[in-house]
Amino acid sequence: MKKGQFNFVWLFAIIAGGVILFLAVYGAVKTGDSARFQSDSEIAKSISVITDPLQAGFSEGSFGKISFREETRINNICFSGEFGKNDISVATRSSVGEEWNLPGGTTSIHNKYIFSSGKSSGKDYYVFSKPFNFPYKVADLIFLTPDNYCFFNAPDEIANEIIGLNTPNIEIENCTLINAINVCFGNGDDCDVVVYGACGNGCDSIYDEGTVVKGSDDMKYVGNLMYAAIFSDRLIYNCNVERLMYRNGKIAEEFSEKADLLDARNCNTNMKPDLIVWSDLTINASADDLMLLRTMADNIENKNNRELCGIWE
């Protein structure tokens, strides 16, 4: 056998072997990527499913914990405009190259209001929920966070609510949690988030309405939206509040039609004009309008309570 022939055979074998090896490695990587994408997409969809029973419903609140095997990033993109949606996607930590793998498929959630950071990462996520009434029940607010929180100077009503929820990631006053975000009510030292109450009359607490200040961002809130402002980014908060207000307006429209049906059965109610005005005011409202709308919400609620045939209970 000639030397050239020997080299050619080897060269051929090396090239062919190399191609096969390359294809095998490429295939394995792609398959791994597909499996990861599948798993991340399933997790995103699962978040939508497992938050169903975690909604507050008729209780004052509910709490749950989602634990992942490895550190996981949850992306939350909010879209306003009519009912809007929360797009949830999940990414796992990468061991090579970029810190995080590309996120899996996105799950769009139209009927829930998930308040979280745009991008949050951790192994354990705490999910809890509070109802949002304005003046009637509009929806359950879902808070999703992997972070620990210490509440300082919280009024008794809020402290009792937090103790009642039994969330291990939130402590009141003597805080032992590590890397915790400090939330101060009124004033305090070393505060990451400050809640300023502004409720003057007809309130259980001064913090029934007010402003949450986070760095340079300030977010107006009423009622349980205070928690939403504490646990989420400004963008997510404003977007979800717009979605909630749109839904509020649609419910008011439905209620005004219900008033006609009650009237037709001699169960008369005078709520219709108020509900029409309320619907017009809320359907395009934003977070900045909340405090102005609260007085009217209280008036409508009082009026409904006085009715023999109330529209809601």
Binding site: S48, E82, F83, E254, L261, N266, W312
Partner: protein, 189 residues
């Protein structure tokens, strides 16, 4: 074996023949290798296809399971929605007035809102032989949402369908037995 046979019988040993014999031997080796490579390649392609088939089956069953879970967990969420719920302090009670409104043109705005393929509520007492869609006299079925998908698998739960009545100056709740039915969203290919 074949090559040595060819060497002995057909090609007498000479310088010229030796060269062509060596070239033929090389070509044969390349052919053998090429066939082998093609065979190995096809083998891996078949293994890959088999693996992908299992993967896709997994994805399909996983997606179906998630949709089923979503539908079951949605039953309570839908029944307790403020747009349908009768009394905000009671679970699984549907307001008949709200049902009438949302099953009409008002409900069209909610088309994208539902996490399931279909939502409907039957009045199940008194028992009926045929489904009569509401509104209508003696109707027994309110169709709230239908995505028009075929082969929808349904899940249901019992609910109370109530409305506020006023008779002889007093107000009371009149309730009937109903069944909330939601369909699983199956993505059509």
């Amino acid at each position: 074996m074949t090559l040595s046979f060819l060497e002995k019988k057909k090609f007498p040993r000479s310088r010229k023949n030796f060269n062509s014999l060596a070239s033929l031997k090389g070509q044969m080796k390349i052919q053998q290798m090429a066939f082998m490579i093609v065979a190995v390649f096809f083998f891996f392609v078949l293994v890959g296809l088999f693996f992908l088939e299992i993967q896709f089956k997994d994805i399909k069953s996983g997606a179906a399971q998630l949709q089923k879970d979503q539908a079951i967990s949605s039953l309570k969420v839908i029944a307790d929605m403020p747009e349908l719920n009768y009394n905000s302090r009671e679970s699984m009670m549907i307001d008949e007035d709200k049902l009438k409104i949302i099953s009409g043109s008002f409900g069209l705005d909610y088309d994208l809102f539902w996490p399931v393929a279909s939502v409907g509520i039957y009045k199940i007492y008194p028992a009926f032989n045929e489904i009569k869609k509401c509104p209508g006299l003696g109707c027994n079925f309110y169709e709230i949402y239908n995505s028009e998908q075929k082969n929808v698998k349904t899940y249901s739960t019992y609910v109370s369908i109530c409305k506020k009545m006023k008779e002889y100056g007093s107000v009371y709740d009149r309730c009937e037995v109903g069944k909330l039915v939601v369909g699983v969203k199956i993505y059509e290919e």
